[in-house]
């Protein structure tokens, strides 16, 4: 058995039980509805800032962008201004494509080895597609959830909801994003479980956020489509949290507390996990720097003098040999003092 995903799965199940028992048996609604969410958001913000500051503390000594297209050189060669950006504008475009469209992941190809001794490469869009679906549907879900924290609900949120419910099929309103989110997560999980190479490189730390997110999506969908949830109560609790007048309305089901607890755990784990790629991508020196490295000097803050082998030392060692073959020298050999004649 692969202990890595089992460990993560069990961890998420334990978390589920904690919240369930905590609310249903121990009546710890205040803990799960107020204290932990507050701690979580605090941990998230402080942790995130701390990590980004940590990265920022280390300097970028060299400009090392990965160039993915023709550089700017002579005027008749067409520069690839985005994949080899010599200007800040180009870098912004490159970063925007990277962050908003996962440009590099879109390049993904799959290598195959044929029996006839050929290696072939095929377009492989599934990782890119599932990653894109996951991130965007998650974003839409988060934006939609802001309706719980705002009164009146701002227009952009209602607009997002409308767009998300484009394919309306009966009641309750059917939001695409929730299902897309779950589907993408299941696909990403399946990759880790069934593609041998991806399974081999996966750590428990890769499975845990997946299981946790699946838990979040699943409990969310359950509440929306299968069980009756006291929406008014949930909104009251959420508004209480954001206005710093926390209350615990009666009648909110345990399922909601499990959902909220999962989200809290995600926020707590975020700064200490690979999820920090959200911040890190902005700081990646192979993407966020201009490539005009020969045109504009870049200064390394810790550049220090090093031991050198000067021309003088070189000539001192080889002077005779150089003179013998007619190579120019800076210093003529010291002529042997002529013996004094008596």
């Amino acid at each position: 058995m692969n202990g890595k995903y089992l460990f993560s799965l069990i961890a998420v199940i334990v978390l589920f039980l904690l919240a369930y028992v905590g609310v249903e048996t121990a009546g710890l609604q205040v803990v799960f509805g107020v204290i932990i969410p507050y701690l979580a958001i605090l941990t998230f913000i402080i942790g995130f800032v701390y990590r980004v500051m940590g990265w920022a503390r280390s300097p970028v000594p060299f400009r090392i962008p990965t160039t993915c297209g023709q550089h700017k050189s002579l005027p008749w060669f067409k520069q690839n201004k985005i994949d080899n950006p010599s200007s800040t504008l180009g870098v912004i475009a490159r970063m925007a494509l990277e962050i908003l469209c996962f440009r590099s992941l879109f390049r993904n190809i799959r290598m195959g080895m044929n029996k006839n001794g050929r290696i072939s490469y095929h377009l492989e869009i599934w990782l890119w597609l599932s990653a894109l679906v996951f991130h965007y549907s998650f974003l839409v879900v988060i934006v939609r959830h802001l309706r719980f924290f705002t009164e009146p609900v701002p227009l952009p949120i209602t607009l997002t909801e409308k767009l998300d419910a484009f394919f309306q099929v009966g009641l309750p309103v059917f939001y695409m994003s929730g299902f897309a989110l779950l589907a993408a997560l299941l696909f990403l999980l399946a990759r880790r479980l069934f593609i041998a190479q991806v399974k081999y490189i996966s750590l428990a730390a890769d499975f845990f956020p997946l299981f946790l997110l699946i838990g979040i999506a699943f409990t969310g969908l359950m509440m929306r489509y299968l069980t009756k949830t006291d929406i008014v109560g949930v909104k009251e609790l959420a508004m209480g949290l954001v206005t710093f007048h926390p209350t615990i309305p009666a009648g909110i089901s345990w399922l909601f507390y499990v959902h909220l607890f999962f989200v809290s755990i995600l926020l707590i784990c975020f700064p200490f996990s690979k999820l920090m790629h959200m911040g890190g991508i902005f700081l990646s020196p192979t993407r966020n720097l201009t490539t005009d490295t020969r045109a504009r000097r870049y200064v390394n803050p810790w550049n220090y003098p090093v031991a050198l082998h000067t021309y003088e030392e070189y000539e001192n060692e080889f002077r005779e040999k150089m003179i013998d073959v007619g190579l120019p020298v800076d210093k003529q050999p010291v002529a042997k003092a002529p013996e004094e004649k008596e």
Binding site: M1, G3, F7, G54, W55, S58, P59, V60, F62, R63, I64, T66, T67, C68, G69, H71, S73, L74, F77, D83, S104, L105, R107, I109, M111, G117, R118, I119, L127, A196, Q197, V198, Y200, L203, A205, D206, F272, K274, H277, G280, I281, L283, S284, R287, T293, R294, A295, V306, A307, L308, H309, Y311, Y314, E315, E317, F318, K321, M322, L327, P328
Partner: protein, 544 residues
């Protein structure tokens, strides 16, 4: 080569399935003959003043490490994290999506899962988590952390010298995580314990002392170029004697010493000499070579940032001493990553040089105005564009040429179209390899970053397989018989790679092709190319 299986056996033995149900951390390290390079010669390490010079053997259990080696690694690790944001970020943000896995030529050619870029980086990350993150410390193995042990150290050494720092994986990584950067850091840490390979350590020591990797002393360097001069005179009837260490020349020319030393790079070197002579006679351009800065390449780059800087310093120092206007650089791979992304920062500003302008065409090389070093492909492309070279591409008609983008000019610079422009002007038959194997997606020769030794031939044939396979494709489809490149390591290693995988294909530099096509004023009728092989349709004349 003789110990290798037959190519088709080699190919069908590659298995990309990872071991079943085995944790990679539990897979013991197996340092296998043919897959590693010999340990550094202590004399070379000592000459450079680098730490812990000693005789040691990777196959022996005892690597004769200093007692506090773990502490040295830990402190070195911390220092690198504090100095390089790239390193810190790359340690933290990988999500192990696996997009990089089958992009690595070493993984494709060996099937060894630790050659997946992600796992190569995890070799360091696992120790990073243990030593520098609280979560890693608390969770231990389940958190992907492990303490630094001798087995881990050996794994580092083995796999950081199975990476050619080609950056192909970083093109595909959604966060731009660059395994070259990871390997550079890993090797820098290993060097703190004197754990280099000799194919790097000795060239570095040579370069520091004699000015070039091969240890050619000034008189011998001159002799070798004089020898080429004689060869060229025999072929063309023209004396192209170059300048050496000439003060007040217009341009200092620096190229890898590999091209002075071994075929087929020597023909590229002869190509430079003919081009410069042509420009001198026709336009009065005064180019000088230097015996002190007689190396374009920089194996210091494969040792540590400091060593890279020490070797690179000679370029500017020599340009200053000779009082040239600017520097012209020859065809080389990693040399150009160092010049493009490091040199000005490390050893600049080069305010004693002029912003490079071609005295022949008047073209300003705006893109090199700070570093003041121009790539010869830019320079030649500009000459051809302005019709300054008399060329007869028909002289290359027996060649069906394809072009290999060297990793560093492609992914550390973006020099993609200049060489193609030049090739198309000097050859009539040019064919591209498949799109996923060229330009920014180019495959490494499999022997870069100091791995072009003789003892690791199996590794080299594995790493070069994807490139060779693409050459094979155009060989079978278009009859390609000449693989051109702009890297001296390529020229040194492709003949072996081709001999093994695609024996019908030969190797050349771009400026060999240029020189073949160049119509020199006053030349005798050309019946052969630079290799003294008859031109197409000139077989009889050449025999006379």
């Amino acid at each position: 080569m003789k110990n290798l299986p037959k190519p088709n056996e080699f190919f069908s033995n590659i298995d990309h399935r990872p071991p079943k149900e085995t944790d990679w951390m539990k897979t013991p390290i197996d340092i296998r003959k043919g897959m590693y390079c010999y340990a550094s010669n202590p004399k070379s390490v000592e000459y450079l003043g680098l730490p812990y010079p000693r005789q040691w053997n990777p196959l022996e259990d005892d690597w004769k490490l200093p007692d506090n080696w773990q502490q040295i690694i830990h402190e070195g690790f911390r220092e690198l994290l504090d100095k390089f944001r790239s390193f810190k970020v790359f340690m933290d943000i990988c999500v192990r999506c696996g997009a990089c896995a089958d992009k690595c030529h070493f993984f494709i050619g060996t099937g060894d899962p630790k050659n997946m870029p992600v796992l190569r980086a995890e070799l360091l990350r696992s120790v990073y988590r243990n030593d520098f993150t609280k979560v890693g410390k608390i969770l231990g193995k389940i958190g992907g952390a492990r303490p630094m042990t001798l087995a881990v150290l050996k794994e580092w050494w083995y796999y950081f010298f199975q990476c050619t720092e080609c950056r192909r994986c970083s093109v595909f990584c959604p966060y731009g995580i660059d395994t070259a950067e990871i390997t550079i850091m890993g090797r820098e840490l290993l060097n703190l314990l004197g754990l280099n390979i000799d194919w790097i350590a000795t060239p570095v020591a040579n370069c520091y002392r004699t000015g070039n990797h091969l240890g050619i002393q000034p008189h011998a360097f001159k002799d070798m170029l004089d020898f080429f001069t004689e060869d060229i005179e025999e072929l063309t009837g023209i004396d192209v004697s170059p300048n050496f260490n000439k003060k007040g020349a217009d341009i200092l020319f620096i190229t890898p010493s590999g091209d002075v030393f071994a075929d087929p790079g020597t023909y590229t070197c002869m190509g430079y000499m003919m081009l410069f002579h042509y420009l001198k006679v026709k336009y009065g351009l005064d180019v000088t070579w230097s015996t002190y800065a007689s190396e374009g390449g920089n194996f210091g780059f494969f040792t540590s940032h400091e060593t890279m800087k020490r070797l690179n310093s000679k370029m500017y120092m020599e340009a200053k001493r000779l009082g040239v206007k600017w520097i012209l650089g020859g065809e080389c791979g990693h040399m150009w990553r160092v010049i493009n992304q490091y040199m000005d920062t490390m050893n600049g500003p080069a305010d004693f040089l002029e912003e490079p302008v071609s005295p022949i065409t008047g073209t300003k090389f705006e893109n090199a105005k700070s570093t003041k070093m121009v790539h010869i492909c830019e320079f030649t492309a500009d000459l051809i564009k302005h019709d300054k070279l008399e060329l007869d591409p028909g002289r290359n008609d027996k060649f069906k040429v394809t072009y290999h983008d060297s990793c560093n000019p492609a992914r550390g610079m973006g020099l993609l179209d200049e060489p193609r422009y030049v090739i198309n002007k000097v050859c009539n038959h040019f064919y591209e390899m498949p799109a996923n194997t060229i330009r920014e997606q180019t495959f490494c020769c499999g022997s870069g970053a100091g791995l072009n030794a003789g003892e690791d031939m199996e590794l080299r044939m594995a790493g070069g397989l994807p490139r060779a396979n693409a050459v094979k494709h155009v060989h079978e489809k278009f009859g390609v018989n000449m693989l051109s490149c702009i890297c001296a390591i390529d020229r040194a290693v492709f003949p072996d790679l081709m001999a093994y995988w695609v024996p019908e294909v030969d190797v050349t530099g771009i400026h060999e092709l240029v020189a073949n096509a160049l119509v020199m004023p006053g030349e005798t009728e050309k019946t052969t190319d630079l290799r003294a092989e008859p031109l197409l349709g000139m077989e009889e004349q050449a025999d006379e």
